[in-house]
């Protein structure tokens, strides 16, 4: 085993700051006289808020523990070996910080091989091995258990996954190879590909058992005791573990094909991880484990040295860390309590906002509008949504009663807002209307109340300009669908004070939104970039490039949907409106498409019809289009669109719209669903050389979202 030791020692030198996991070996007598047993506990010495991970020094510790139990097993001193975790945590896989530091393919290869070399030994011991999944298990944590002979899982286990593909890796310490050989390709594809690409969906303990990953399921209260009693029964032969025979025929190929279909629909071929994982799963059909491990090593090393993974880790850290501690937010102690919320407007957006505030803040929410019918409709919408939650058992009857009692609607703002602390408007997107609304609100609301606007493109400063207390106005820009997209752009007007801003961030946190501080600039972040992006697509179409060429040009980015499908979702009229706003602000870069105006004027909801089941250009729209005669290739279109985006982001950073490029990426990931493998967009622009071409420099420091130099 000296080669493994050396391999891990070398890797550990590259990662001096590893939080090292110990592998404690403790001996015990199994119940029912089943014999002496060695139990390995993985524990990094911290509580559950710092989950146990595997870096090279941690793997070396496990390796040393296996040295010990291997000798004991060979000498007949023990009848079996178990492995479990500290309270609430089994192990959550490789330490990503160590992966970020890797600069060379050979070092990346060593990480993969190191894990395999250690884990494999568990299946080669002279005695059976047992994994007891007591708590959260992810990635390498799941995989160390897959190398054991048997597994039990706790009903209380909250999260179990192979999230590698989600980040841009493959489950490369045996996951791609062992899992399909254990539970069949179909279920393995669902865990490795489908869950991973479905926002990193986690399995619960009972599902781990139902999938056949674990052989036994026990309740959390005495999970380890029952697991050890079960172990004794297995070792004595009183319990025989019977696993279903897996289908190695056509079903295997079909499962892999289904996996490719899922990958295509999610990343459109733009990120390699899912496809590499599927290749290994496909090859695992022959049951040759070592061949699979070798393929995992190669895939891991290739992906670790690739930009998609680095962008993925960067994006993951943005969402997990920067998203929770917004850059530039004032001290939270300045925030004022919000004990009652007012919503101006009772349309669909306003009603969604009322529902969100109600559910998250659980304070009285008052809705107003210009007539009783609209008010009733708005409150009715909220009640109906609460009933849906009740039917889905997301809330119980008591909670439903409470929420319904908290929402009310009145016509008279003075009656509704006299004691409100936070009033948000979601009325017609016209500056005069909004100023009028705020003036009315200010006349009746308490002096400390925050006046928030959900405007997507109007100036917050201008909206506040006619008020007695303009310092309490903030932009509070949500993204549709409000319940799903996490982003909330918080806009600071020129006169907005720190206390109002701090209150806005405190409310955002309670709303469980990812808040990003944005300067009061036209269309803020997401809409400005999307409009520039769409505008350039529209421009090339208007100039003569066929619609399908323009659409296909940006497919390699792997965006959640094509530009024209997105336009349809937003609504052509709104798209047009935003482009007009931006055109007024920046006439040299933002155009207003005559073709789009024509489509809107014709009352079309989009460019496509779906009669054949897939999108095809609507002949009525085609008839409206007046195109020039400049036909670009896909490459030319892509270059032009990406150049425009890079230029716009460069200008936004110069203007100080946000603090850093990281905030742009965070906005695009959480507000537009742009994928992790792009890292939002700036890592991709840097990687593809677009940033250098347009702005003369990359957006990010080398290594921030790329392989370090």
């Amino acid at each position: 085993m000296s080669t493994t030791t050396e391999l891990l020692k070398g890797a550990a030198e590259l990662f001096p700051d590893e939080v090292v996991t110990s592998a404690h070996v403790r001996h015990l007598d199994l119940p029912a006289g089943a014999g002496r047993f060695a139990l390995v506990t993985l524990d990094n010495g911290f509580d559950h808020t710092k989950p146990t991970t595997f870096g090279p020094a941690s793997l070396a510790n496990l390796n040393a523990a296996i040295d010990q139990v291997e000798k004991e097993a060979a000498a007949g001193e023990i009848v079996g070996v178990g492995i479990t975790g500290k309270p609430f945590i089994f192990a959550v896989g490789a330490d990503l910080k160590g992966v970020e530091l890797l600069k060379e393919h050979k070092d990346a290869l060593a990480i993969g091989k190191g894990g395999h070399e250690v884990f494999k030994r568990l299946s080669a011991l002279a005695v059976p091995t047992f994994a007891y999944y007591n708590g959260a298990a992810m990635g390498g944590g799941v995989e160390v258990g897959l190398h054991c002979t048997y597994r039990t899982v706790s009903k209380a286990l909250p999260a179990f996954s192979l999230p590698e593909v989600f980040l841009g890796l493959v489950p490369g310490w045996g996951g791609c190879t062992l899992l399909p050989n254990l539970i069949g390709a179909e279920k393995a594809v669902s865990v490795v590909i489908e869950n991973s690409l479905n926002q990193n969906k986690q399995l619960k303990g009972a599902q781990v058992f139902e999938l056949g990953i674990a052989d036994a399921l026990f309740e959390g209260a005495d999970f380890l005791e029952q697991s050890l009693i079960w172990t004794a029964s297995v070792l004595k032969g009183d319990v025989v573990v019977d696993r279903p025979v897996i289908d190695r025929g056509e079903a295997w190929d079909q499962a892999v094909a289904k996996g490719r279909f899922i990958a295509d629909s999610k990343v459109h071929g733009a990120a390699p991880a899912a496809y590499r994982a599927l290749d290994i799963i496909a090859a695992a059909k022959n049951g040759d484990l070592q061949q699979g491990y070798d393929a995992e090593d190669q895939a891991l090393a290739d992906l670790i040295m690739g930009g998609e993974l680095r962008a993925g880790i960067y994006a993951f850290n943005l969402v997990q860390k920067r998203g929770k501690r917004p850059a530039g937010a004032p001290d939270k102690s300045l925030a004022r309590p919000v004990t009652k919320v007012g919503v101006v407007g009772a349309g669909l957006m306003a009603s969604q906002l009322a529902l969100l505030f109600l559910r998250r803040l659980e304070v009285p929410v008052v809705v107003t509008d210009i007539d009783q019918e609209r008010v009733d409709k708005g409150v009715g919408y909220v009640h109906a949504e609460i009933d849906k939650l009740l039917a889905k058992r997301r809330v119980n009857q008591d909670k439903a009663n409470r929420l319904k009692a908290l929402v009310s609607g009145v016509l008279d703002k003075a009656e509704g807002f006299a004691d409100a602390d936070f009033i948000i408007e979601a009325v017609f997107e016209e500056i005069g209307v909004k100023q009028q609304v705020f003036a009315e609100v200010e006349a009746v609301a308490p002096a400390h109340a925050i006046l928030a606007t959900n405007t997507s493109s109007l100036s917050v400063t201008e909206m506040a300009s006619k008020l007695k207390n303009p310092e309490r106005v903030v932009g509070f820009h949500f993204f549709n669908p409000v319940a799903i997209l996490p982003l909330l752009e918080i806009v600071r007007g020129e006169q907005t004070d720190d206390a109002s801003l701090a209150t806005a961030f405190a409310v955002a946190k309670k709303l469980k939104k990812t808040a990003v501080l944005v300067k009061d600039a036209p269309a803020f972040v997401v809409n400005r970039i999307l409009t520039r992006f769409m505008g350039e697509i529209q421009n090339v179409i208007d100039e003569g490039t066929p619609v399908e060429v323009a659409e296909k040009a940006v497919e390699p980015l792997g965006l959640p949907m094509s530009p024209l499908v997105l336009l349809e979702l937003v609504g052509p009229a709104i798209g047009l409106h935003v482009s007009e706003t931006l055109n007024r602000a920046f006439p040299d870069r933002f155009t207003v498409s005559a073709n789009l105006a024509a489509v809107v004027k014709a009352g079309k909801r989009g460019f496509y019809v779906y009669d054949s089941g897939k999108p095809e250009l609507d002949p009525e729209v085609a008839a409206l289009l007046k195109q020039g005669d400049t036909v670009l290739t896909e490459e030319q279109v892509r270059a032009r669109v990406l150049d425009a985006v890079a230029q716009e982001i460069g200008l936004m950073l110069e203007e100080g719209v946000v603090a850093e490029a990281q905030d742009i990426d965070l906005c695009l990931i959480t507000g537009a669903g742009w994928p992790f493998h792009l890292g939002g967009i700036t890592p991709y622009l840097d990687r593809e050389g677009v940033s250098a071409r347009v702005n003369g420099k990359p957006f990010l420091e080398p290594g921030a979202a790329s392989v370090p130099a």
């Binding site: 070996v25 403790r26 015990l28 007598d29 199994l30 119940p31 139990l39 500290k86 209260a221 005495d222």
Partner: protein, 405 residues
């Protein structure tokens, strides 16, 4: 409304292995509530005939009812054990006789007709909650000489009991202790004890205490098989210079939990539950707090009188061995030999340990096993001394009794 008193039975009892209190003890990093929760769960697993919805009460005793032994342990332990929310619970305290009182109090309610079936047990984690933690005795105890100052220190009360019975020497106490260890070792060798133990997973992070990581406790930690008179003779007498009470002839400071199912006999029969013992009578009595070890004698007198029995009718005794002197005082009172075979056949707390409020149910569980083995015995009793000058006795009838042979 006419009422009929109902027969009450001991259905089943289990316990955790007992541990030594302190930083090197097996349960040092284990919560007290988890111990009793695991005991309750094992009881339910062993008795699938008992529908958890039909449990009417969970009565759990602890002496120091704070921290993980606080928060109305009977209720919280029930929820943690996975019992339906409809099952209520409460906490009980009579110091050492906590679990015993949990049994008698719920048994009284069963006889009255308020309950059909209950969980009764106790827990004491003396490592996490040393005796006397957080107490605040009223100064009048001393200023008005209501009790002697030694009354709060159990070891001193045991020395006081030696004073009262000078003929019970340290040698007799040590000889008794050696026999307790021998009987316990024999009971282990014959598998009498393990069948009612609940394995407990334990974590250790302090390498000074032994191997670290998760382990499993399947046996009592305090036992010292092979203890000899020579071993004991040299031990210190920590409660009095030239005293008689040592760590060797007393129970230690321990961690552990017990739980039992108590039910009306009709309920047990209807639900196919075992009937291991039938309750005959129970009594508590007070004595001078400074000789609390005397308590079992008046308590037993009362219990025998209620039952219309004499001491000669009792075929098996389970006496809690808080101190050897206290057992010997009891035996002397009734003219029973120190090594009488009817007494503590499996050994006692000197060997197994005495996690205060949990011990009562250990006595019952052991008596129940002895009843099974000895159908010639009709009556047995469980008795214990209690801090602040009390005694507690329960008399049981053997349902396996086959008549005099």
């Amino acid at each position: 409304m006419p009422r009929t008193v109902r027969d009450v039975v001991f259905v089943d009892g289990v316990r955790t292995p007992f541990g030594k209190a302190g930083p090197k003890g097996i349960y040092h990093e284990t919560r007290a509530d988890d111990l009793v929760v695991k005991a309750i769960r094992e009881l339910l697993r062993r008795n699938p005939g008992l529908d958890p919805k039909k449990i009417d009460e969970v009565a759990i005793a602890a002496t120091t009812q704070i921290g993980d032994q606080g928060l109305t342990l009977g209720r919280t332990a029930g929820i943690l054990a996975g019992l339906p929310q409809s099952v209520p619970g409460y906490s009980i305290d009579r110091m050492c006789a906590g679990a015993l009182t949990a049994v008698t109090t719920t048994a009284g309610s069963i006889a009255f007709g308020a309950y059909d079936a209950v969980i009764a047990g106790g827990v004491e984690h003396m490592g996490r909650h040393p005796m006397g933690e957080g107490v605040d005795p009223n100064p009048r105890f001393v200023s008005e000489k209501l009790v002697d100052e030694s009354a709060l220190f159990m070891g001193m009360t045991a020395e006081n009991l030696h004073d009262r019975y000078p003929h019970i020497t340290k040698l007799r106490a040590d000889q008794y202790a050696v026999r307790s260890q021998e009987k316990a070792a024999k009971a282990y060798a014959n598998g009498k004890i393990q069948q009612d133990l609940v394995p407990i997973s334990v974590r250790r992070t302090n390498p000074e205490a032994g191997e670290t990581g998760w382990g499993l406790v399947t046996a009592d930690e305090p036992m010292r098989p092979g203890t000899t008179l020579e071993n004991l003779s040299g031990l210190k007498t920590p409660f009095r210079v030239h005293g008689r009470v040592t760590a060797g002839n007393a129970a230690g400071l321990n961690d552990g939990a017990t739980a039992s199912i108590i039910a009306s006999e009709d309920f047990a029969r209807e639900n196919g539950l075992p009937v291991k013992m039938r309750l005959v009578s129970y009594a508590f009595a007070g004595v001078e707090p400074e000789v609390m070890g005397y308590g079992p004698i008046p308590a037993t007198e009362k219990a025998l009188a209620q039952a219309g029995l004499s001491i000669a009718d009792i075929g098996l005794f389970e006496i809690n061995e808080a101190f050897a002197i206290q057992v010997l005082a009891f035996l002397d009172h009734y003219g029973i030999a120190d090594d009488d075979e009817r007494v503590n056949q499996y050994g006692g707390a000197i060997a197994y340990g005495h996690p205060l409020a949990s011990s009562g149910v250990r006595l019952m569980t052991q008596l129940a096993r002895q009843f099974e083995e000895q159908p010639n015995v009709r009556y047995g009793l469980t008795t214990m001394c209690v801090g602040f000058g009390m005694g507690a006795t329960v008399i049981w009838e053997n349902p396996h009794f086959e008549g005099d042979k």
